[in-house]
């Protein structure tokens, strides 16, 4: 149904609540200057929470770098600062603010906004202004089909989100054969669903149901009853937290059982577990990253994923979610690119980004010719007894997948 969005009017941005201009005290060696990064992030509006998580990720990196020797550019040392503006969760505002950052604040490096629509509009702007942007929060491939050269995304593209679950499923016994896929009708989710369907079809599984529901719908009964009638082995959803909650509840209400329930968004989020309680158990989620995934860190930054998680927890009072991690990873990409370019020239940094190839606490950071990190695998986690465990791939798991999911009345 039509949702009256609470997005604000495009407006003149002055460093309101979000502009940070105070630098962290300089490290022992004197710095030759400060590199300023720019970011238009939601501080208000419907994605304010995700915007806040993104900001935490960016700031964590900034604070760490500034207290650990800064960034080395050729033979000079630089501190780092980030200039924020609130895009109100509105794509047009994001575009306008990025114009401001580049043309008025003379920022040469843009950290991406939150969300696919905001990222898409931002990508068009940075392409025209010829400054590189690295983002960790807009996973839709449609952004990358335009031949843009200045946008890079560290996160695995949308179509991979559920593939990890299917990959894992093939190793389980008995192998699940049929899959139902329900997605929200928006850029990101449709791609997630299609990616899952393509993988299933290519690996001997049958897609018995593939359908879209309106984004932000409040009613999924038709979807659920149709799926129920087909008795699939696996049920997958590409959508958002609200729908994940609604679907999981409706599955229980309608006694819909399956061997695997998988969601692209949801299980990662503490709210999902908190709201559903024990009804959240057994659910699988595709994830870019989780604190329990064991990724090795690259030199020059904090270390392995568990070290990152602990340090983050210490600074922000909560374990990092994937939004935090992917945002920090975006900053890391810039950092390594700038160091390898040995220059602050936007063009040279852009080229260095294109040729980046480094393994970090977040996984591999490497971009194909479109700017997509197709090399990054998706991990799979599962909620087991109220805890989120990483169960796939084998190299990063810290628990085995619990399979098959018992029927509702047997829990």
């Amino acid at each position: 149904m039509g949702c009256i969005r609470v997005g604000g009017f495009p407006a003149l941005a002055i460093a309101g609540a979000l502009a940070l201009t105070t630098a962290v005290p300089a490290p022992a060696s004197a710095a030759n200057g400060t590199i300023v990064f720019g970011a238009a992030l939601a501080a208000t509006g419907s994605t304010a929470r995700e915007g806040e998580l993104t900001k935490e990720g960016y700031d964590f990196w900034k604070d760490y770098v500034n207290s650990h020797g800064g960034i080395k550019v050729a033979d000079k040392i630089y501190n780092v600062d980030i200039k924020y503006y609130d895009d109100e969760s509105n794509p047009q505002t994001a575009a306008r603010l990025i114009e401001k950052l580049v043309s008025e604040d003379h920022v040469s490096f843009i950290l991406g906004p939150y969300g696919s629509a905001n990222s898409a509009t931002a990508a068009a702007v940075v392409e025209r202004l010829k400054v590189p942007m690295v983002e960790g929060n807009g996973a839709a491939a449609s952004i990358f089909s335009q031949g843009y050269k200045y946008t890079f995304a560290v996160l695995a593209p949308g179509f991979k989100y559920l593939q990890g679950i299917l990959e894992m499923a093939r190793t389980l016994k008995p192998v699940p054969k049929t899959v139902a896929i329900a997605t929200a009708n928006d850029t990101f989710s449709v791609e997630v669903g299609q990616g899952a369907a393509d993988y299933a079809n290519a690996h001997g599984m049958t897609v018995v149901y593939q359908n879209k529901y309106p984004a932000a719908t409040t009613d999924v009964s038709a979807v659920v009853s149709a799926i129920k009638a087909l008795h699939p082995d696996m049920i997958l959803n590409g959508g958002h937290l609200d729908e994940a909650l609604l679907l999981q509840r409706t599955f229980k209400e309608q006694s819909v059982n399956a061997k695997i329930f998988g969601y692209s968004v949801g299980p990662d989020t503490p709210d999902f577990r908190k709201t559903l309680g024990k009804d959240a158990n057994w659910v699988f989620g595709g994830t870019q990253w989780s604190p329990t995934a064991k990724y090795r860190g690259a030199p020059g930054f904090i270390g392995d994923s568990n070290v990152y998680a602990a340090a983050f927890n210490k600074q922000y009072g909560h374990l990092p979610e994937y939004h935090n991690a992917e945002s920090t990873a975006a900053c890391l990409a810039f950092m390594y690119a700038i160091e390898r370019a040995g220059s602050l020239d936007p063009q040279k940094v852009r080229d260095a980004l294109q040729h980046l190839d480094v393994v970090t606490f977040y996984g591999i950071l490497k971009f194909d010719s479109r700017g997509l990190n197709v090399y990054k695998p998706m991990a799979v986690n599962q909620i087991q007894n109220g805890e989120l465990m990483t169960v796939w791939p084998l190299g990063v798991q810290n628990a085995k997948p619990a399979y098959p999911t018992p029927p509702w009345n047997a829990r």
Binding site: I4, V6, Y213, S221, A222, K228, K252, E253, T275
Partner: protein, 288 residues
């Protein structure tokens, strides 16, 4: 066939909530000729009331329903008496935009207090269901329907039997004559609007049992209320009930047989057809 029966049941269950959603909206529109775009905000307030009471004192939503109703009633009364009453006789656009502005205000206050993250209520009994033949019915939804019917019956009794109710109906027929007869119109207008808000709050509580909560959650239900009122006819309890149930069933079948991606479009097309062919709806009276 099993799908058909399940969809029908789903539709009726959803329709119960829609009826309560539509009832408050219909009263305000039918009696005062005001389209209350803040209706969604009141629904949201009711839902959050239920959430706060549930998460702080573990009060079951069905029990917090009367509280939410009362709270929203007084709030709505105040809004009407001290704000909207000043523009009641203005052309259509004015109350429309006024209530829209109020809605923005209320939703943003909620956003400020509760933030945008999704919240939900999961009770002990949520998810439990019974099966009749091939049809599965969730207990929560069934009780919601029962409560919805109780509320609509109660409203009907109030409007027909009580003195206030009769005064309200008189006022709706001819406001000047009612005023001459001694009816305190500005008070009664506020009562009606308060009832509308209270009913929205009650609907919000019912909704909070099955759906997630967010500050903007109420807005889609304004459209729902529109459609139900148009389908069933304005200003009467029966109209809201019929409109709600019919809309629920239409949505259920529409999404199953036309396509889930188009479920809202189906309802809206039906709305347009009804507006073109029979604007007063099924039970509405022809306007003079």
């Amino acid at each position: 066939m099993e799908l058909f029966a399940q969809d029908l049941v789903n539709g009726i269950l959803a329709g119960g909530i829609f009826a309560v959603v539509a009832l408050g909206f219909s009263l305000v529109w039918g009696i005062m000729n005001i389209i209350n775009l803040a209706h969604g905000a009141y629904i949201m307030m009711g839902a959050y009331t239920s959430y706060v009471l549930f998460s702080t004192w573990h009060l079951d939503p069905f029990l917090s329903l009367p509280l939410a109703f009362g709270l929203l009633y007084f709030f709505g009364y105040g809004v009407q008496r001290f704000v909207i009453n000043y523009v009641v006789r203005a052309p259509l656009l004015t109350p429309f935009l006024l209530t829209f502005g109020l809605s923005l205000l209320i939703v943003n206050v909620a956003l400020f207090i509760f933030h945008g993250d999704t919240k939900g209520i999961t009770t002990q009994y949520s998810g439990s269901n019974i099966s009749i033949g091939t049809v599965t019915i969730a207990w929560t939804k069934l009780w919601t329907l029962v409560v919805a019917l109780i509320i609509t019956t109660g409203m009907q009794a109030f409007l027909t039997a009580s003195r206030t109710g009769r005064a309200i109906r008189a006022m709706a027929l001819d406001i000047d004559a009612a005023q001459l007869a001694g009816v305190r119109v500005s008070h009664l207008y506020a009562v009606v609007y308060g009832l509308g808000a209270g009913l929205a709050g009650a609907a919000g509580v019912l909704i909070s049992l099955s759906y997630s909560l967010q500050p903007s959650m109420g807005d889609p239900f304004v459209i729902t209320a529109f459609v139900c009122c148009v389908l069933g006819g304005l200003g009467t309890v029966q109209g809201a009930l019929v409109g709600g149930l019919l809309y629920g069933v239409l949505e259920a079948f529409g999404s199953q047989y036309v396509g889930t991606g188009l479920q809202d479009a189906v309802a809206l097309v039906v709305l347009l057809l009804v507006l073109i062919i029979r604007p007063r709806g099924i039970l509405g009276k022809a306007t003079a």
